[in-house]
């Protein structure tokens, strides 16, 4: 673990990414406490440009709502959607991939057909249908995003497990009579983790974007404000009021960038070939 942080902190992209993520998360967590104004409240005249009034520093939107408040509250939803749906995707994808890879044969075939089923339906289309069926809400959105994002996880984990399964230490565990569950959990998964973590960092970004695309099609949670919602809602008035889309857009950009940088850093830190170069 120490080794991990060390190599993580050695890669500049990892450090920048971490800083961005920590910043974004603290805004999401603490922002609404410091800034308790509801982002839905119409506080000023519509289309107030940014930097004109100190009370609404980033201006107002088409209904006169505070863009700044939206940014702060939006961070919460966007990051939550990103993180939670990734987590769910991992919770689904990792066991399926692990079982397929470990048991092989018919189990593998069945599980992979199942995975393929989700993979061949164009993912965004499936997400749309699912959200529509479940009715848009933060839960259904997270669930749908998770449903379309787990197959790559499963495939990746399966591949890793497939190769790890033949490692000698796994065989050693088998011959010492340990149970399959134990072997998967203790011997295999911890060693399959690094590529999964890297993939997950990218998935968070994809999930944030997916949420924004859903919001764009009017399938966002109507009770919660998100950056994606703001970009979508401000898009049509971009000619009169650039600030409504640009600020949340930049926020998405920076967050996704940050997550990608973390992914990059993780990649470097967790890739033994890179981090152990010279040992």
């Amino acid at each position: 673990m120490k080794q991990f942080w060390k190599s993580m902190l050695r890669s500049p992209s990892g450090v920048i990414g971490l800083i961005i993520l920590v910043l974004a998360i603290s805004i999401a967590v603490f922002g609404p406490m410091l800034f308790p104004n509801s982002p839905w409240r119409m506080v000023q005249r519509p289309f107030l440009p940014p930097f004109t009034l100190s009370t609404v520093p980033l201006g107002t939107d088409a209904l006169g709502r505070d863009v700044f408040a939206g940014m702060i509250f939006g961070a919460r939803v966007s990051l939550l959607v990103g993180l939670v749906s990734t987590l769910v995707a991992l919770v689904v994808g990792v066991p399926i991939g692990a079982m397929a890879g470990y048991f092989g044969g018919k189990t593998d075939d069945a599980l992979m057909r199942f995975t393929e089923f989700f993979q061949t339906i164009p993912s965004f289309a499936l997400a749309i249908v699912l959200v529509a069926i479940l009715q848009p809400s933060i839960y259904s959105i997270v669930a749908s995003i998770a449903v379309v994002s787990w197959p790559p996880v499963a495939r990746l984990v399966r591949g890793e497990v497939l190769s790890l399964r033949t490692r000698e230490y796994v065989q050693a565990a088998i011959v010492t009579g340990q149970s399959n569950t134990w072997i998967i959990l203790r011997e295999i998964l911890p060693n399959a983790l690094s590529p999964v973590i890297v993939l997950a960092s990218l998935m968070v970004a994809t999930a944030i974007l997916l949420e924004s695309s859903l919001a764009f099609l009017g399938l966002g949670d109507p009770n919660l404000i998100s950056w994606g919602y703001m970009v979508g809602a401000g898009r049509t008035v971009i000619r009169q009021a650039w600030w409504i889309t640009v600020f949340p857009g930049v926020a998405i950009l920076i967050s996704v960038l940050g997550l990608n940088l973390i992914g990059e850093g993780l990649n470097d830190a967790l890739n033994p070939r890179l981090s152990r170069e010279g040992r």
């Binding site: 000698e168 010492t176 009579g177 149970s179 060693n191 170069e277 010279g278």
Partner: protein
């Protein structure tokens, strides 16, 4: 002859490693000369800096390391001052290299012939047609069978020995003045190794090349070296003509290395005939089928064909044979890591092949395995204590008892108990293999299967581990199935030896008898191929 001017002269070479490496310099103050028509063997334990020297000579050092001082004189120039273009011009044409791993050293997507032809292309020589013709004749020259077909084949369609031959053909294409061979035979089995060594020797003589030959195998050195350079921790500790180094080693380290080379003379052993059978293997068959496709037929490999043997209590049965002969497959069949097509494995009175699931799991503790690669067989993310205690805990032992026992076991294999809390990467290779042994012992098995348990180790460490095994076996009354491709090792440790060829046991005899009077042609071939047979390690 010794007076011929050196083709290459390395002077005081010092190569710095990046920060955080295990030592500041990979190579520190190494000087050596390569002379035309001579083979200089560079020997030394793993990590001693052999490859670094070779790569420096080819200008192929990784970006992270750098030469801090010294010079490499070649044809009147200092190679270290060469620019990229200069290097490109020399490489291949004047300096050539053969790499250790024949599989990965060839581009998997290019045909062998094309890769050979590239040699000429790189230096703008010949027309494409001529290049192809040349590739063909080269293939013939290095003795590749059916050269017309082979130049059109892809690397994966060749055997290891064939690949290595292709590499050699490439290296020789432009008749370089200097050939650098970095462990070119380590990945090959003994018989193939012997062929390749002969080939290199012949070609080198015919073309009067200067050769730098890197190896860790003293047998190989004994076979081909004119000159020997012993490296340790990046420094030359001894250097001289082969005969001198072998017969009158000066440095302690050289002496230790030589002493550790196992002898081909089996020691005398007490007969075990009155012991009960610990393992009985009856008629094991195993065939791997890989579907072919692409208009090719399925590939079927008979890895075990009617394999029969038994091991008595307290006995070590050796299983030898060249690579791919099916040794590991038999081990895995005995361990029930794979399923046999036919046959029975009995441990004591229990028929292991008829068990499955939980019943199998509870019987597993009776037969344990020591794996080949000490690093690969330890989960890098688990502490040693867990690695050893996991098995007993899974079998229902109270964790505290299991850990206590792990501590005792570590002591038994000669490690201090602090090791319990450390991770595998914090140990040396020999120590890791001891951990592997401790793990196998933790379940108090009756039988131990050791599949190439010492092949990955340096000779000196190998000797230690072998001693330990012998000792433990005697103390605990274990039986052992000892798998190796190294006949020297087998000679030292086995009571009886079974020789495998293409999945079948062709000869099974008490060790001394086998070495003294091999019956089967294959056994004889195998024995003949053991490198360094002529020379005797003096300490043996």
């Amino acid at each position: 002859m010794m007076t011929a001017p050196p083709a290459v002269s390395i002077k005081n070479l010092r190569i710095a490693l990046p920060k955080g490496a295990e030592r500041p310099f990979a190579v520190d103050g190494v000087s050596l000369d390569l002379r035309p028509g001579k083979i200089v063997c560079v020997v030394g334990e793993s990590g001693s800096g052999k490859s670094m020297c070779a790569h420096a000579l080819m200008g192929l050092l990784p970006d992270t390391v750098s030469v801090t001082s010294g010079e490499i004189q070649f044809e009147g120039r200092d190679l270290l001052k060469l620019d990229d273009d200069g290097w490109r011009d020399l490489r291949g044409r004047r300096l050539a290299m053969i790499f250790q791993e024949p599989m990965t050293a060839l581009n998997p997507l290019m045909r062998i012939g094309d890769q050979m032809a590239e040699m000429f292309e790189a230096h703008g020589l010949l027309t494409p047609k001529e290049r192809r013709a040349k590739a063909l004749s080269l293939a013939r020259e290095v003795g590749l069978p059916d050269p017309e077909r082979i130049v059109r084949a892809y690397p994966h369609q060749l055997s290891g020995g064939q690949r290595q031959r292709a590499m050699i053909a490439m290296a020789l294409a432009l008749e370089p003045a200097v050939l650098v061979a970095d462990e070119p035979t380590t990945a090959l089995d003994v018989t193939t190794q012997a062929q390749i060594l002969k080939l290199i020797r012949n070609l080198q003589r015919n073309r009067n090349m200067a050769v730098m030959f890197i190896t860790h195998d003293f047998g190989v050195v004994a076979d081909i070296a004119d000159q020997v350079v012993v490296l340790r921790h990046g420094k030359v500790v001894e250097e001289g003509p082969a005969a001198t180094v072998f017969n009158e080693p000066q440095h302690d380290y050289t002496k230790a290395l030589l002493a550790a080379v196992p002898s081909m003379d089996p020691p005398a052993r007490a007969p075990l005939d009155d012991q009960a059978r610990a393992v009985e293997v009856i008629g094991l068959d195993k065939t791997y089928v890989t579907s072919g496709g692409w208009f090719r037929e399925d590939r079927r490999v008979d890895a075990a064909r009617a394999v029969n043997f038994n091991i008595l209590k307290g006995e070590t049965l050796g299983l030898v044979g060249e690579s791919g002969s099916g040794k590991s497959s038999v081990a895995r069949l005995v361990m029930r890591l794979i399923e046999a097509d036919r046959g029975t494995v009995r441990i004591g009175e229990t028929d292991l092949t008829s068990l499955s699931g939980k019943a199998l799991r509870t019987e597993r503790h009776r037969i344990q395995m020591i794996f080949q690669d000490p690093f690969a067989s330890l989960n890098p993310r688990r502490k040693i204590g867990h690695i050893i205690a996991d098995g007993p805990i899974a079998a229902g032992t109270d964790p505290k008892v299991a850990f206590d026992r792990a501590r005792d076991l570590l002591k038994l294999v000669g490690l201090d108990t602090g090791a319990l809390e450390r991770y595998p990467h914090e140990f040396s290779g020999g120590q890791r293999q001891r951990i592997g042994i401790a793990r196998a012992l933790a379940l108090e098995p009756e039988i131990i299967v050791a599949d190439e348990a010492v092949s990955a180790l340096d000779v000196s460490v190998q000797a230690q581990v072998l001693r330990l095994l012998e000792d433990l076996k005697a103390r605990l009354g274990l039986s052992m199935l000892f798998i190796t491709h190294d006949l020297r090792v087998a000679a030292q440790i086995c009571d009886r030896i079974a020789v495998m060829q293409r999945g079948a046991i062709v000869e099974l005899k008490p060790t001394a008898q086998l070495f003294a009077a091999p019956e089967h042609a294959y056994t004889r071939e195998l024995l003949a191929a053991v490198p360094g047979r002529k020379e005797r390690a003096p300490a043996a």
